[in-house]
């Protein structure tokens, strides 16, 4: 890798899904693993149902806080329509990790089947994971991001963040099993 071995992630979702928290967990784990870290957040719209996009970069030495189009090793999407929106960030060799859930945008109804098919048939390496269903098994959609964290941490070879509480740890473990 020409870029001093930094790993670049773009994390997306819909306001209220916990994309910011997911990014912070990944940052915390990367720091614990001895890496330098940058997390670029966008505040303001996250609570109002709009698209949320957070950039995370970690490695031995990291400078740029944002990931440019075509620069992401991973796009991590807590929602499938947002996964499509973030496509442009992927490197040709990049990996997409997407939650199977579609949250309807205001106005036009989109067919979830169409969205998921587009992702799996796009030619990019993609994992489409049932984070939402798994979170519901644990009792609440709030565990969705921790399930995703488990899966992504497994792919990135990062440890479980220490700050997770017991329920989120369980979600993490189940998420990690999704990608073996």
């Amino acid at each position: 890798m020409a870029r001093g071995m930094a790993t670049s992630l773009v994390i997306v979702g819909v306001g209220g899904q916990g994309a910011l928290t997911l990014a912070r967990w990944i940052g915390e784990a990367a720091l614990a693993a001895g890496y330098d870290v940058r997390i670029a957040e966008i505040h303001g719209m996250s609570q109002r149902g709009g698209s949320v996009e957070v950039h995370v970069r970690f490695g031995k030495e990291v400078y740029a806080p944002v990931v440019e189009e075509g620069g992401a090793d991973y796009v991590v999407a807590l929602e499938a329509v947002e996964a499509l929106r973030a496509y442009k960030y992927l490197k040709p060799s990049g990996v997409l990790v997407a939650n199977k859930r579609v949250i309807q945008p205001p106005g036009k109804w989109v067919d979830p089947q169409l969205v998921l098919e587009a992702i799996t048939k796009s030619g990019i390496k993609a994992y489409v994971l049932p984070c939402f269903d798994m979170a519901m098994e644990l009792g609440s959609p709030i565990y969705e991001n921790a399930v995703m964290l488990g899966a992504v941490s497994k792919l990135l070879n990062l440890p479980m963040p220490e700050s997770l509480d017991e329920r989120n740890r369980e979600a993490f473990r189940r998420g990690a099993r999704l990608v073996v």
Binding site: A2, R3, G4, V14, G15, R24, G27, E28, L31, D36, V37, R38, I39, A40, E41, I42, H43, G44, M45, Q47, R48, G49, G50, S51, Y63, A64, P65, V66, V67, E68, E69, G70, G71, V81, E82, L84, R85, Y87, K88, Y89, L90, K91, P92, G94, Q104, P105, P106, G107, K108, W109, V110, L114, V115, A118, I119, K121, S122, I124, P141
Partner: protein, 604 residues
């Protein structure tokens, strides 16, 4: 307490801090005693962090001008003070900023202004650094949170040494970036005492002329200080001059392009050190975030530069590694072919921000729509969550804080059209108070609607003075008739607003205050207190798919199903029950306790 535990850790470990938190901790290490701010993205978390330190004077001021004045006054009296705002806030505070350069300060004065390139949450892309040149105030420009921490501390020392205010210019990608920062424990606050100095602190012409001479003379010496904050990373026979966040993209771009360049990183980007002229070699490329402020100064030193002025780098938006690599390649005439980013297989439908489910603004807009039916009003809008009234076509003019009533008066007198000015409570105190006096003395027919949710919601729910100093009391004192409505009580409120509309039609201004706290704050408090929140459901047999609830009221918890019937997301519903009020066929039913919940909510 929380902070204590925090510091025990801090002595040994680096922790992930937001740039704004880092600025706050840097200020604490620098002995800040007085900290003021008016909220604004991306600057808000600076004061939010400082709020927890009770041994200092920390205050959310009514606007940026007042915030700067309090801090400036404190430093004139020898204390160390910080004032924080977003870039456009500095326009509001510009008057005292210029004076501060003339009188100078005794304690350190640090003015933090956070720019928002590409306007993630702003109305313009203005570059704070011009104010440095314009007002003769040095500008420090940190490149990341760790440096923001150090510069905040340094800024106090510098300011006190130079007896001059210092601007700390941040940007979204410093303020809202989390990175590892090493933090020292806070220093004790440095308070002061005012010593009279007639010819220094009274800017009447005779004295101001002397201060002006002293100012330009002082400015000539600051270049040397600027040189101390400059870092030269030696390299090959081309020079890249950069500052702030742009430095990071330069570092990655030179690696990507595999070029050997001398990098000059300015810590103080206004004024630049004149001695830079002797340090540059070969082609001089300038990379900076915002306008060409550094490049303009380099050209004033008669250097040939390749930067934004001649279009090597884009003149709008945010930089990133790709744009900087492209620009450097162009400037040095070296080939660089970027792979095209992949295209999404199908285009993602837009997901614009919407009002929160149950937001009181939603009810107010619906009430206003019905009460002004047939008048085709001009909706003179303003900045805040209620800007999202744009989604229902009820914001025609949003330009800056205070535009609602200010521009609304202009539209009304120029066109004789019926104008509704909608303004949030925080914005009301920030900018509209003086406008109300013009409205009252000139009797311009305008329907002013204060959307009083008791908080500055847009920026995360800072307190607003609306309960202490109710808008309706102010209007009455000015002789403007005022009506109070509850946005959750649709039917009664429509009748009240219709009466207000009649008064406006007769040629007089009226104030309507729509009172109900931000639902985010209310549900947070209710959850803590264990108060039951009712849920609403659509009875599909009854629903006729008219779309009033999801198209006109536009509650974001309500979706149209493929058969056009409404569906309420049970997770999102916050039990306001407004949809049940607007449904023409009574198809929406709640599961009890609405009255109790609305009462608790009103107290939030």
């Amino acid at each position: 307490m929380k902070n204590l535990i925090f510091y025990i850790h801090l002595n040994t470990v680096k922790i992930l801090l937001l740039g704004n938190e880092a600025i706050a901790y840097g200020a604490l290490a620098g002995g800040v005693a007085v900290a003021t701010a008016y909220p604004g993205t991306p600057s808000t978390e600076i004061l939010e962090t400082l709020e927890e330190f009770r041994d200092r004077f920390v205050h959310w001021a009514v606007n940026e001008k007042t915030a700067l004045e309090i801090a400036y006054g404190a430093t004139v009296a020898g204390a160390r003070a910080l004032v924080a705002m977003k870039h456009v806030g500095l326009n509001v505070a510009a008057d005292p900023l210029h004076s501060a350069a003339y009188t100078g300060v005794e304690g350190g004065l640090v003015v933090v202004s956070a720019d928002d390139p590409w306007m993630h949450s702003s109305q313009n892309e203005q570059d704070t650094r011009w104010y440095g040149l314009q007002a003769y105030v040095p500008v420090l420009e940190p490149s990341d949170p760790a440096e923001a921490y150090r510069y905040a501390k340094t800024a106090f020392e510098l300011s006190e040494k130079l007896k001059h205010p210092i601007i700390l210019r941040s940007v979204t990608r410093v303020s809202h970036v989390r990175a590892p920062v090493e933090v020292e424990p806070p220093s004790p606050p440095k308070w002061g005492r005012f010593s009279k100095d007639i010819s220094r602190f009274n800017l009447v012409p005779a004295y101001a002329r002397e201060r002006r001479k002293a100012l330009v003379e002082k400015w000539g010496t600051i270049g040397e200080v600027s040189a101390e904050l400059m870092r030269v990373e030696p390299g090959g026979h081309v020079t890249i001059v950069t500052s702030g966040v742009a430095y990071n993209y330069v570092k990655e771009a030179v690696r990507l392009l595999n070029i050997d360049a001398t990098i000059i990183k300015l810590g103080m980007s206004v004024p630049i050190p004149p001695k830079i002229r002797e340090l540059v070699k070969g082609t001089v490329v300038v990379v900076e975030e915002g306008d060409s402020v550094v490049e303009t100064q380099l050209r004033a030193l008669r250097l040939e530069t390749r930067g934004k002025i001649d279009g090597y780098f884009p003149k709008y938006g945010e930089l990133n590694t790709r744009k900087v690599a492209e620009g450097i390649a162009k400037a040095l005439d070296i080939p660089y072919n970027l792979p095209q980013p992949p295209k999404s297989p199908i285009e993602a439908p837009p997901r614009p921000p919407v009002l929160c489910p149950g937001c009181p603004h939603m009810g107010t807009f619906y009430i206003l729509r019905l009460a002004t039916a047939g008048l085709n009003p001009v909706w003179s809008g303003d900045i805040g969550c209620y800007s999202l009234g744009i989604n229902t076509g009820q914001q025609d003019l949003i330009t800056h804080m205070g535009s609602s009533v200010g521009l609304g008066m202009g539209v009304a007198v120029a066109s004789k059209q019926f104008v509704v000015a909608t303004v949030g409570d925080s914005t009301f105190y920030h900018s509209v108070l003086p406008q109300l006096i013009d409205l009252a003395t000139k009797k311009v027919p305008l329907l002013v609607v204060v959307m009083d949710n008791a908080y500055t919601a847009m920026t995360g729910g800072q307190p607003s003075p609306s309960r202490l100093i109710p808008p309706e009391k102010i209007a009455e004192a000015f002789g403007i008739p005022a009506f109070v409505i509850d946005p959750a009580d649709i039917k009664t409120s429509i009748e009240v607003v219709k009466r207000a509309v009649e008064i406006v039609k007769s040629g007089r201004p009226v104030l309507v205050v729509s009172k109900r706290p931000c639902v985010l704050v209310a549900t947070r408090k209710a959850r803590k207190a264990g108060v039951a929140i009712p849920k609403y459901k659509v009875e599909p047999e009854k629903c006729i798919g008219c779309g009033i609830c999801y198209n006109l009221l536009k509650c974001s918890a309500i979706q149209a199903r493929p058969d056009r019937k409404a569906y309420i997301d049970p997770v999102l519903c916050v039990g306001c029950g407004i949809c049940a009020e607007v449904c023409p066929v009574d198809a929406i039913k709640g599961n009890g306790a609405r009255v109790k919940w609305l009462e608790v909510w009103q107290q939030a």
